[in-house]
Symmetry: C2
Amino acid sequence: MSIATDPYKDQLVPSSEIEHRINCLRSEMARHGLGATLIIYRPNYFYFSGTSQNAILYIPLEKDPILFVRRDMDRAQEESPLLRVLPLQSLKQLPDVIESHAGTIPQILGVELDVLPAQEFFRFQEVFRGVEFKNSSPVIMKCRMKKTAFEIEQIKKAARIAYEVYEAGKNLLQLGMREIEFGALFEMEAKRRGHEGVIRMRGLNYEGYSWHILSGPSGSIVSDADTPAGGSGLSPAFPTGAGWRKIQAHEPILVDFAICCNGYISDQSRIYSIGELPEKFLKAYKVCREIENLVLKGARPGVKSEDVFLIANRLAFELGYEDGFLGLPGKKAKFVGHGIGLEANEIPVLGVGQEYPLEAGVVLAIEPKIVFPGEGVVGIENMYLIKEEGYEKLTLIDDEIIQV
Amino acid sequence: MSIATDPYKDQLVPSSEIEHRINCLRSEMARHGLGATLIIYRPNYFYFSGTSQNAILYIPLEKDPILFVRRDMDRAQEESPLLRVLPLQSLKQLPDVIESHAGTIPQILGVELDVLPAQEFFRFQEVFRGVEFKNSSPVIMKCRMKKTAFEIEQIKKAARIAYEVYEAGKNLLQLGMREIEFGALFEMEAKRRGHEGVIRMRGLNYEGYSWHILSGPSGSIVSDADTPAGGSGLSPAFPTGAGWRKIQAHEPILVDFAICCNGYISDQSRIYSIGELPEKFLKAYKVCREIENLVLKGARPGVKSEDVFLIANRLAFELGYEDGFLGLPGKKAKFVGHGIGLEANEIPVLGVGQEYPLEAGVVLAIEPKIVFPGEGVVGIENMYLIKEEGYEKLTLIDDEIIQV
């Protein structure tokens, strides 16, 4: 019953990595007055423990962390470098086991209030009587925001798969094919190379997936998602992404197809077209690339995230794209770039009201897009690692429109 | 900016359907003392409004429901038969708008406490001062449990796609192919036919997806999921479902591949094999089919859900499969069947501690499986509509092992 074959084991999170991450969390906890943190949300406890088996992770300021495992205990022990991995039968056990292994339970406990369901929170209040709970998510996301070398490697593996899949896409695209058919072929090419298929996103009702294939007019269909171009989706139940429309020649086909590898996401967009695109799309595409360059110049450590967004907006407006930049009037997306890692919607967000200053070590997906009502969307999305000096481009796909 | 092409519009939820569902909810609300319900969770407000645009749905006992839409307002209006569809800028507006359209706000408001994040719940408490909140999920799930004729039609559409995909699977399976490659091809065949790709599951950290392809020994790898056979998955980040293992001849290949169509899920499992299977797997497969028949005889309206589970267990034990039935000792799944609809883990659950009596109109996915440590899993999963008299089988795939 040992875990799988080698490619799985090659992806285990190293012990040094876990130690580094927990140290980061502890110093943030200390700064925010948290005596310990109970981590319930899967991407978070995977980040700090190396396993995403069903578990709860307890991290105190000083003593050893304890990973409480509901299922599967054997795999959690194999996968996590943590020393204390214990089975969990019932939440009621938690206080006693914590006290016997890690001393007194502190007065202030962190817990992820932005994702933990209310009913489960009440249960924690019952079990840990007299303890004050504070939202630990800002502290956790601050640690997760700065990527380690190991994490950059994982994103690069996903970006490598993305490169291969977008290359393969050149031979898959055919006139008259439905958006969802093109998406299905993309998905197949990605998954056979190790794409994990699910794109994690934080928040109730957020559903992440890859097949955002929007051809011609579909590119101006607005959806529930806060993006410039939502697409129709297949039904009112899944009203975003690839739809039933048959792809035509000489129209922009936006392929915003994220790839997940060992939990890490590579997020990118390119425009495909069958035959030449009309001049106005080519011109708008060039403008998107100019805006990308300007955003990159502006996205320096210390700069407030929103300021970078405002710079992008200003240039788009100056160049005459006030109506279409980041969506149609009244329906615009509120950001031009976002952090990326274990989830597709991480901080920092280059968007409205985002006060957070950028730091070296963040990975940004920058995605300027311009929408033409009833005609389509053009734009580009690349990932960059922001460094103290300069940046490193993580996306490997050529920047040009992919004309077949 | 109108929504997509015809196959999308053909799937809109009819007005009579929405009316019926809201009537059901209102009578349950009245029985449970809820004056109104605020519906925040997407599968729920899609069920009662016909749209899954970003929204909050307010349903009082008597006055018209109000759908508050964050994004996209135009599509929500096109998709929902509800009469009052209003834009929502901020939660703060809610009480005033509700009072002006639907009269006084009742003293007891229902809200989905099992999925609503704690922080968002606190926000509702702030906005609706003095109101008592009660968990509305049991009431909502009770309505959703009994499927209407329209819903059965949607499940049948998904089951038809499943039939075609499992047929196509016969020509896709090849010796030495990795599990994830087979899964990728299945996914492609499903998606090009309209499979929506995401399998919704209720609860924090639940992640539903289709590619559960477990070959030989992978079928006895336990995962975080409460299922007889979890599989390795591709990495510690996604430790369930298809892995990297290369498929061999003469071993059972479990394909538990769910299909989603207009939001409704068709859930089924079959065993493929390359060449003949050893006798012990064939024998165990026959036992699974016997158990399925016994479960079907037992799953009558009025019978307690857990009792059906106990019947299944008893037969498996009598026939000598105590060790392997529903998983290995100490790691067994706690159910032999579950409700299915907009989510893959609906009530009723034929499982441990499930008091709920079965009713006519529920759709059950019944999935007896037997695990052989280190060797694999065999079993079957079919969906049935339970009727007052008898049942209707919804799965169209032939019941035999699919040998290629």
